[in-house]
Symmetry: C2
């Protein structure tokens, strides 16, 4: 057991990430008590049944009261409402953090909604599965995975350190970067791949019913890997695309150009263009395996 | 042990699929002897070292001699040369089959290269991994996976049955369909997903070196799943796209239209369009899990 990093933490939004964080901090003795907050009665019932928190509420104001750290783990579109509701009950010196997949809007919109006596330290764990809800979480989700923090330039170094300590205690590797840089990197590593996966599964969903059944039957040939990604939480992903519009559209433009080159190569039977690209992409896979992120 | 289905089979091209087939037929006692043929000295050394065949050669003519079944498991672009070389030594009544990912060109091009006293029964196992070479194969690769046969309308029913028996013995489920229909179904379930994965990994590979390192570091957020697919054998996939041009370009066109709709929805902040699609794609995933192909 490690010494606890925080006395009391509130986790607002108790899905895959929120419930995994609760499991991990509990397993590693990183906090003394956890209050879980979720707007879904089903989710709250599951949290109680699985004993994932010391207290369960549907009210962010109740959850935030006396909390040393509040982690918002809800879809980005719900942030403003959550923060408005909890702001009055935040205690002096509390830290507010989050796990959202887009960071610049968090730094832009939240400070004006928060009292000046709390510290905002946004973060993003690079980990997940396609499953949702409190029952889908697990304690080892963050082990060996990166946790990116994007604090403002004038954020309190001690608050940054304590949030980092919590995630390090859950097995994460810590990286600090500028919010808009984070959003560009994630546009290519995460947002564009999800958009593409959603699109191709959607293309299959538009086929006539006969063809659709065959797609499902023979999905082991590549398609099923895309369906896994395209099974991710719809609300969360809608909010990601609405909040990281520019970076996603920029990467999508590059992707479209590259796809057009391949389309031409197929149309005109240019085998060498295809072979060259397919060889280069294999090398990228090898680097990911070497970086132990495979 | 099952009764053997064939006395002697030759497997020409001993990579992931060829070597997995050898392992499976041996494990299930489906043949009496296996001759392995591969043009790569490294591959042949591995076959000998791992004891994957009773005889090893680099010459299709030697491999085909006395074989009751010849399975071509090489890239599509190598078929014509292989068949020309082995045709003179094929025995009367032999069956020639394959495992290629495109079927119409096989039925179109091979009959004129084969003696009329052999039966051509093309096939395609819907199974694989991103790894290549004889060491990457494993005996259970085909278990619970589909094997699609695309014989000509006038093919010998007994030959169809025996090829089906062999794959059924390896754990496969058998489907018979028309070659051009196969090529359309696979264009969406396999060829387009691979093309898209190759493209997006290529887009990342075109970023400046700094950004590339970050893509690799934070690849656990979606990107890495695409790199796995984009690590598949370059020669095999070049040949797939060159041989299934029309069906792939048709599916690519549909994909592009769907992607344009999403692009517009992101640009104009149309959250409902995104949410609706993301909900529908989740249902497709559920059907694949129900069909036990996840």
């Amino acid at each position: 057991m490690t010494d606890s990093v925080f006395d009391r933490i509130a986790i607002i939004g108790f899905g895959l990430i929120g419930s995994s964080l609760a499991r991990a901090v509990k397993a590693h003795g990183l906090v003394r008590s956890i209050v879980a907050c979720d707007s879904s009665p089903d989710a709250r019932a599951t949290i109680v049944r699985l004993g994932l928190a010391d207290q369960v509420t549907d009210d962010p104001a109740v959850a935030a009261k006396d909390a040393d750290l509040v982690v918002i783990a809800a879809p980005l579109g719900a942030y403003a409402d959550i923060v408005r509701r909890m702001a009055p009950s935040l205690k002096h010196g509390a830290i507010v953090s989050d796990v959202g997949s887009v960071k610049a809007p968090v730094l832009r919109d939240l400070p004006s909604l928060l009292p000046e006596y709390v510290q905002l330290i946004p973060g993003h764990p690079i980990a997940g599965t396609e499953n949702s809800g409190p029952a889908s979480g697990f304690e080892t989700l963050f082990e060996g995975r990166w946790f990116i923090m994007t604090p403002a330039a004038d954020a309190d170094p001690d608050a940054i350190k304590r949030v980092g300590d919590l995630w390090r205690g859950c097995g994460s590797l810590i990286e600090i970067m500028e919010a808009s840089h984070h959003d560009k990197v994630l546009a290519i590593t995460s947002h564009l791949p999800h958009l593409i996966a959603y699109t191709i599964v959607g293309t299959a969903a538009h086929l006539e019913e006969d063809a659709q059944s065959e797609v499902i039957k023979f999905s082991a040939s590549g398609f099923r890997d895309f369906t896994r990604i395209a099974a991710s939480d719809p609300t969360m992903w809608r909010d990601v695309f609405l909040n990281n519009r520019e970076a996603v559209l920029e990467m999508l433009q590059r992707f479209n150009e590259d796809l057009t080159v391949l389309q031409r190569a197929i149309r005109f039977g240019e085998g060498e263009t295809l072979f060259d690209l397919f060889t280069r992409t294999r090398a990228i896979r090898r680097r990911i395996i070497d970086a132990q992120q495979a």
